[in-house]
Symmetry: C2
Subunit: 250 residues, 2 copies
């Protein structure tokens, strides 16, 4: 079984990691739109256009499913992609919301959604959580975490000051949805600033979603991964090697 994974850049590699670790696919085709990254602050119509172009790219491969790893693209373009695609399209929003439901029975739980501007303003996470009966939802645009992670900063004063900038005074969070694929890389710092709350990670949420909702029961000993990027594919492959290391067979 062959899956296409689409992201605006390198962040979706955190989703690829979960897919490989859980042996869900025989082959992964990864496409990062690095020439136009980041999507986080761009317009809905632009995101839809870029996402449909990515779908065209995947037509070069005979994929059985498309996973949209980018939260912004999932928030804005999933409906358009589903209408056009002839294969199942899975975004990260619905799996993330279901992960909350699986972990937090109490509808009074305090849920914090953090993401880039586009994802927060789309209200997708907030609306779907409300629809499930959750009452206490807070949402914050934490866009600066993206360039900080891309700069390779995973600890230290810049990250600490930024955590304080966004989360100062926020107390009693039960679970934080890491609504951007870059955020799992600083999940421990975010959780620790928020007094050890639970973190919802898109990659893990997608794995659960595929197994439980999609009844995906494949088990492949090895996953072949091929990386493509709209610019500087060498750069993306280098990051993939750093982040995924021994999970990749070459």
């Amino acid at each position: 079984m062959k899956v296409g994974v689409f992201d605006s850049g390198i962040g979706g590699l955190t989703v690829v990691k979960s897919l490989i670790e859980h042996k869900l696919f025989e082959e992964i085709i990864y496409y990062g739109d690095t020439a136009r990254v980041p999507y986080g602050a761009k317009d809905k119509n632009t995101i839809i256009r870029y996402s449909l172009e990515a779908l065209e790219f995947f037509k070069n491969f005979d994929i059985d499913m498309l996973i949209v790893a980018c939260n912004t693209a999932s928030a804005f373009a999933i409906q358009d992609l589903k209408e056009v695609a002839s294969i199942p399209v899975v975004g990260v929003i619905q799996p993330g919301v279901l992960a909350v439901q699986n972990r937090l029975e109490n509808k009074e739980s305090n849920i914090l959604v953090i993401a880039t501007k586009g994802t927060i303003q789309s209200n997708r996470y907030q609306n779907e959580l409300h629809a499930l009966g959750y009452k206490n939802i807070n949402a914050i645009q934490t866009g600066l975490f993206v360039p900080i992670v891309e700069e390779g900063i995973f600890e230290g004063e810049v990250l600490d000051a930024t955590l304080k900038h966004y989360f100062n005074g926020i107390k009693g969070v039960d679970a934080v949805i890491l609504g951007c694929t870059h955020f799992p890389l600083i999940a421990d710092k975010i959780a620790s600033y928020l007094d050890g709350c639970q973190t919802i990670h898109s990659g893990e949420a997608i794995v659960d979603y595929l197994i439980h909702e999609h009844k995906h029961d494949k088990n492949f000993e090895k996953t072949k991964v091929t990386f493509f990027a709209s610019e500087n594919p060498e750069g993306l492959k280098k990051v993939a090697k750093n982040w995924l290391g021994s999970l990749l067979n070459d």
Copy 2:
């Protein structure tokens, strides 16, 4: 006289400000490639392609000169633009270098170039300063300042931590080249962290360059400015109103 000003996003508005204040043009057509911003970490070939597309856009207007306000585009694409364009094309690198020469006679002066990854790696500033005989040139990629300024942060702990992150231990700088159009907005903080050194601002440098090198001697009481963006032009116009305020006639 009508000039086109091209930038990857909103940063070039700091150049527009200088052009209006010095009454150099009757009309300014501004184009920000907001759908594909930022350019700072993108590849040379991508930047050239995007810059040539911007030149195509300006063919819709009868401009007499093109100013490339974006440092990354100036670093990578100025030669290609000059070859294709039928009008003068002025980037920000050469004016910035000449501004150093006008201010610092001593070739032993310590010059610091700060910019995004692309501009620093192009070595354009460093090479041109070396060619003029300057010996002590330090260059630092300070990409995080861009999203920080775009987030509207001009002071406080996040900026302070980032200044320290980049400049810790750097002493004795005589002049810092603000090699990205976002940086003038935090010029005072940068100068103050670097013990009150001089700052070279692309907008001011371009004005000097046009007057002294291009023998531009026009003086227009009013400058009409029209803004275009590859996405969300309303957002760009809003920022323009905030930054340029009463300089704009509407």
